[in-house]
Subunit: 371 residues, 4 copies
C-alpha cells in the first residue's frame, strides 16, 4: 500500500476491503510521505520494519527484487501523485489498484495506459460503487434488454461536508481536495462527479458524446468547484443530467441513479444499496432486493449473505478487490479469470477526460463540449 | 366554467376543488365546444338549461348582463383557447380563474395582463401545487431565513403516461397535449415543466435570469417534446437544475423540489405531500409534517384536518380556490383580503416566458438564453 | 347534523366529506347541546334559523314532519349520546350516519339494530378508513384469493396526542375521550382500537373468535386506557396482533395493516394511503398505487383522480358518504344501489362487542375471552 | 471454529466477521461432524491438516495442549450441540464465542454459566444485532434518559423463507431448524424470536417479568412453531408486544424495534440499519444517522466509516468479535478491557429462559407465565 498512514480515511477502507474475502495479505507499505509517520503507521499495522518504505520508489524497487515481493499495490494517496506511483509499480512489474481519479490530466492517463500495456500488468481503478450487487443487477438488466433502448438518465452525488470552509480550519481531507495542486482542476466534479459519471456509464453501457457543465464555487475562498450541474448527450441519442455537490445540506453520501428506457425504468440509491426499484412499462413497480430469487447471477456473484442481511460500502469495495484478485490469480497461474468485472485503466482515463471536459465547458460559460 | 364537459379530466378537479370549502356554487357553463355535449354535461351537473351556453362569448355576455350572474369563471380548456376566453370574461367584468399555462405566447400573456388591469378584476392561474400546506411551509421557512442564502436547487416533474404514442390511439388528453396547435410550442415543458418552474420560484422567491435547455422527443411521430432537461441561473448567483419528463417509466406524478442554502436544506415530494424534510446545517434531518406544532401559520392557513390525516391534491387545489374566494369577497365587499396567496396573471406570464425561452434555447442547440 | 358545532373537530370533517361529491346539502342541525352555540354555529354554516334546533328530539320531530325534511342525519356527538340520537332519527323515519363507536354498550347496539330493522332505514357507521381506495383494493385482492388462506395479521393504530394529561388542561377533545361517562368503558381501545379492528375484519373478511387484551393507562390521573395490546384468534385458525396507543411519541395517526396468507402478503399504511405493498410468494414485492392499471374495480370505484395525484383522508371519508348516498337514492327511487360498500349497524355492533370483550379480558388479568 | 463446514451459512459469516477488523486468525477447526467434509472444508480454508479435527473433543484437548493453541473458539453448530461443545472448550481453558440460542434448556444454560465461572474464561453469545452502531445509539439514548421512563415497546422479527415446507425438500438450514431434536422446543421463537427479545432488552435495559404467548405452526407437517405472537410485561410496569414469524410473505429479515417513553420515542429497522428515528415529545421527528455528529460515543465505537457509507450485517457481527477480542486481550495481558459490550452467558441464559417460558405459555393455551 502507498499512502493510508495515520489520519487517512480511504487507506483504512482499502485495507478492510482487501481483508473481507481473505484474498490479500498486507506485507509492505510506503504509508506516508513523512518517514516517521510511515514507520509508525507500518508498525501499527503489523508490517515488518524492513518492508516499511520511506518512498514509493524505494518500495517498488525493493519489492520487485524480493522473491516474496508484493504482487499488487494499492495506491491511496492524493490525486496528483497517482500517476507517478502507478507508473513506478507497473514498470516494476507489480499490479496496481489505484484510487480514483486515476490521474490529474488526460496525458498522464494515456501514459499510464501505455505503461500498463507494456508491463502486461493489471491497472484497476477503485470506482468502488460498481461493486454493489444491485448496481451489477441494474447493469445486467439493461444488458439483457429489460429497459429497452435507454432514453434518459439522472445521476447525482450529493454531499454536504464542504458546506463551510473547513479546509481553512485544517481539516486534512478537505485541504487536499480543495487544492488544485493536489486535486487537479476539478473539485467536486473530480472527487465525486467522476463516481457518478462512471456509475451511469457502467450501468447503462452508454458512451458520452458531449456535455454542458455549470460548475460553481459557493463557499467563499474555496479554490475549486463545490457544486456541478451538467447536461449530458450520449451516443445513440440518450440524454442525461448529472449533479454533484458537496454543499447540499442534509445529504451525506447521496449517490443516486435513475435510468429510463422505452420498456422500463429503474432507480438505485447508494444509501440504501440492497435494493433497486424497477418498473416494466405498464406494470407495477417492483422492489428487487439483493440476495432474492429475482436477483441475477451478476448480482449473486457480488453477494455474500442472504437477503435482508444488509451488505454495505465495505463489501462493495471488497468485491472490487476480489475481482482483481481473480484476475491476478489467472494472470499468475494461467487459466481464465472468468467474468471478472472491475474498473480498468480505460475507465480511469474516461473519468479523467470527463472532468477535463466539464472544467473546460464551464470555463467557457457553459457551452457544449465534445468528450 | 368554460370547458370541463364529459370526458375531460381537469374540469372535474376544478369542480371538486371549488366545492370542498363551500365557497362556490356552479351556476353556469360553456362546458364544451360541442353544443350537444355542452348541454348534456350541464344537465349532468345540475345547471339550469338557460345557463348552459354554446360558446364562451355567449356566456360572458349573458352572465355579465344578469343580476345574479356569475362572479368568477373557471377556464379549463386546452391551452390555445385560454387567451381569448380569459380576455372575454375579464372584459365582461368577471373574475377569471384560468388553468395553466395561461396563454400560448408571451404577447398574449401581456395582453391579458393589460385586460386584467383595465377591468380591475382578478386573474388567477391554477398552479395548484402551491396550494399544498407543506409547500407554503417551505416558502415560509425560506422567507424567514431558515436556509440562509440559497445556493442551488433541483426540481423535477416526472411522469410516464406518454411513454408510448397514445395520442395516435385517440387518447383525448394526449391528443391535445402533443398538438402544437392546441398546446403551443412546448409539450412536456409547457404541460408540467412550467409547474416545476413555478413551484421552484414560489418556494424560493428567486428570479430566473438565464437557462440552457435540451428538449427531446423520444416517442416516434410525436410533434412536441416529451423530455426536458435544463440548467438554471438565478439572479444573485443561485443555480438550479430542472427536469420534466413524460416518458420516465415508473413515475406517476413525481414532482419534487430540493433547495439548498448556506444554512440548511429542504426537500418536498408531491406524491407524499404531507411532510417535508429539513436539515439545518450541522444538525440531524427533521421530518416536518402538515398539522404538527412545527408547521408555521402559512401552512396552517392551508390545513383543514389534523396531522397524520393526509390531505391531498384536491385539498391543495381547493386552497387556491379558497384564497381566490377571499380576494373576490374583499373586492366585492371592501375590506382587506388578508394575506391571500395565489398565482396571478404575473405568475402566468412568467410561466409562458419560461416555456418560450426553453424552446428557443433548445432549438439553437442548447445555448444559454436570458429570460 | 347533530353535534359538530363550533370547536368540534369531526363535525367539520363530516361536512366536507358530504360536500366533496356534491351528493348532500346541509339544511338542518342540532349542532350543540348548548342552544346559543347551536344557533351561532348554524348561522355560521348558513342554516335557516328555523332549522337550527335546540335538541335532537326537536329536530327529529320537526324534520320528519316537513315535506322538505332531511333524508339523512349525521351524528357527530360524543359516544354516550349516539344511541339515543340514532334511535330517535331512525324512529322518525330518517336515515342515520353515525360516528363510531356506534354505542357504548352491546345492549344499546342490539336495540339500535332493532330500531333500524323496524324503520327500514339505513344505519351507517363511519369507520371511514374503509373508504380508502387501497383498502378496497386490499379487500378485493384477498377476496379473489391473491393471498391464499390468511395465516396471520398485524394491525396497529398509534398516536401520541395523549402522551400527557392534556385532558386536565381543558383540551375538549381529550376531555370527553378520557371520560368513562362520555366515552364508555374503553379509552384508546374504543377511540382508535375499534378502527383497527374494523379495518382488519373489513380487509380480510375474517371473524374474530377470541382475544386476549392487556390495556394500560400510562398517564397519571387518566381514567381510561391509553395503550392497548391484544392477541387475536380468528375463526378458521388465523391469528393476529392488535396494538392501539395514544402515547406512542412520534406517531401522528399511524394506522397500519399487514396481512399474510399462504400465497402472499400485503401491507397498507394510512399515512401513505395511495399505495399498498403486495408480495406474491416467491416473487418480488410490488407497489400497487391508487389509480394505476393494477388497481381493481373495487379501488377504481373509490377513486376520483389519476395515479400520482394523492387522495387523502377527506376523500376516503367522502366515499363512505357517497356509498350511503347511493343506497339512500336506491331506497327512495327504487332500483338497485349496486355494490355499495359501507359500514353498517352490524359492523357498528361488532365494534362495540370488541371493545367490551377487550375491557373484560384485561380486567381479569389478560385472559382469553370469546367474542 | 466448530461447525461451519461446506454448505453451512452462519460459519462463513463468523469467519468474515472475525476477519474484518484483523483481530483473529483462523488456525484450527472441527468444521463438520462428518470427518471427510471436515477435512475438505479445512483445506479450503487453508487450515493445516494437523489442526483440522474430527471431533470437538479432540480439538479442545489438542489445542489446549499446544503452546500455540487457539485462544478462543467459535461454535456455529446446530443448537442442541452448543452445550457440550461450549463446556468442553471452557473446561479446556479456551474462550468461547457461541451462536444463539446458547443452549436448548435452562438447566444446560445454568451449567454452562457454572463452567464459565469456574474456568474464568469468556463466554460470549452472538446476538449479533446488538453490534449495529444505531442499536448502540438507541441504548445510549435510553440510558441517558432521552426517552424518559419507558412505557411500551414493539419488537418484531419477520421472515418468509419457511412459508412452505422446504424442510421436506432437504433444505439443510430448514431441516435442523424445524427439528425439535436439534433446535429444542422452540422453532421460530428460538431461531429469531430470541434475537428480538434480546434486542429489546439490550436497548431498553428492561427486565421481563411475565409473558403470554400464542405460538402457531401454519405449514402442514412442520414440527415446530413458525409464527409467535406475545404480550410482554416488564418490571416497573412497561408493556410490550413481540412478533416473530417465518411465514410472513414479503419479509426478508425484518427485525424492527420501537420504544416509547414518557419523553420520547424511537424506532430502528435492521434492513435499514444506518439510521434511527427519534422523536422528542412535542418536537419533530429526527433521523439520526450512523457516523453523523448526532451519534454518541457508544455508536462511534462501533463505526468504521463515515456517514452515508452504509455499514451492514457483517460489520455489526464483526463488532461483537472486536469487543470480545478486546476482552480476551485484557484477560491475557492484564489491564482493563474498557467498556466492552457484548452478549454474555447471562444473556444467553436469559434467551433460553425466554423461549422456555413462551413454549410453556402457549402449550397451556396462552396463559401468562412468569419468566
Amino acid at each position: 500500500m502507498v499512502g493510508g498512514g495515520q489520519g487517512a480515511f480511504i487507506g483504512a477502507v482499502h485495507r478492510i476491503a482487501a481483508r473481507i474475502d481473505g484474498e490479500y495479505d498486507l506485507c509492505a507499505g510506503a504509508l506516508s510521505s513523512n518517514p516517521e509517520r510511515a514507520l509508525a503507521s507500518a508498525r501499527e499495522l503489523g508490517l515488518a520494519d524492513d518492508r516499511s518504505y520511506g518512498s514509493f520508489e524505494d518500495m517498488a524497487a525493493a519489492e520487485s527484487a524480493r522473491n516474496d515481493g508484493i504482487e499488487a499495490v494499492a495506491i491511496v494517496t492524493p490525486n496528483h501523485t497517482h500517476y507517478a506511483i502507478a507508473k513506478a509499480f507497473l514498470s516494476a512489474g507489480i499490479h496496481v489498484i489505484c484510487d480514483k481519479p486515476m490521474t490529474v490530466t488526460v496525458d498522464e492517463a494515456d501514459s499510464l495506459l501505455d505503461a500498463a500495456r507494456e508491463s502486461g500488468k493489471i491497472l484497476a481503478v477503485t470506482y468502488n460503487y460498481t461493486g454493489y450487487p444491485m448496481v451489477r443487477e441494474a447493469r445486467a438488466m439493461i444488458e439483457r434488454g429489460d429497459l429497452g433502448a435507454i432514453r434518459t438518465l439522472r445521476v447525482q452525488y450529493a454531499q454536504d461536508w464542504l458546506s463551510e470552509a473547513i479546509e481553512a480550519d485544517g481539516q486534512k481531507q478537505a485541504e487536499w481536495r480543495t487544492d488544485p495542486a493536489r486535486s487537479g482542476a476539478g473539485g467536486c466534479i473530480g472527487d465525486i462527479g467522476t463516481h457518478a459519471y462512471h456509475l451511469a456509464c457502467f450501468v447503462t453501457g452508454l458512451k458520452l458524446e458531449a456535455l454542458c457543465a455549470d460548475l460553481s464555487t459557493f463557499v467563499d475562498g474555496r479554490r475549486l468547484d463545490d457544486n456541478a450541474q451538467l447536461l449530458l448527450r450520449f451516443a445513440g441519442g440518450a440524454k442525461g443530467m448529472l449533479w454533484a455537490s458537496q454543499v447540499a445540506v442534509g445529504n451525506e453520501n447521496n449517490l443516486e441513479l435513475e435510468v429510463y428506457g422505452d420498456k422500463g425504468g429503474l432507480a438505485w440509491r447508494q444509501e440504501q444499496p440492497n435494493e433497486l426499484t424497477f418498473t416494466r412499462l405498464g406494470e407495477t413497480p417492483q422492489r428487487i432486493t439483493r440476495g432474492s430469487p429475482a436477483a441475477s447471477d451478476a448480482a449473486a456473484r457480488a453477494t455474500r449473505i442472504p437477503a435482508g442481511h444488509p451488505e454495505g460500502y465495505l463489501e462493495a469495495f471488497a468485491t472490487i478487490y476480489q475481482e482483481v484478485a481473480a484476475a491476478i490469480r489467472a494472470a499468475r497461474d494461467g487459466g481464465s479469470p472468468g467474468d471478472v468485472v472491475f474498473p480498468t485503466g480505460e475507465d480511469g482515463k474516461s473519468g479523467v477526460a470527463f472532468v477535463d471536459a466539464a472544467v473546460r465547458s464551464s470555463a467557457e460559460g457553459g457551452i457544449w463540449v465534445d468528450v
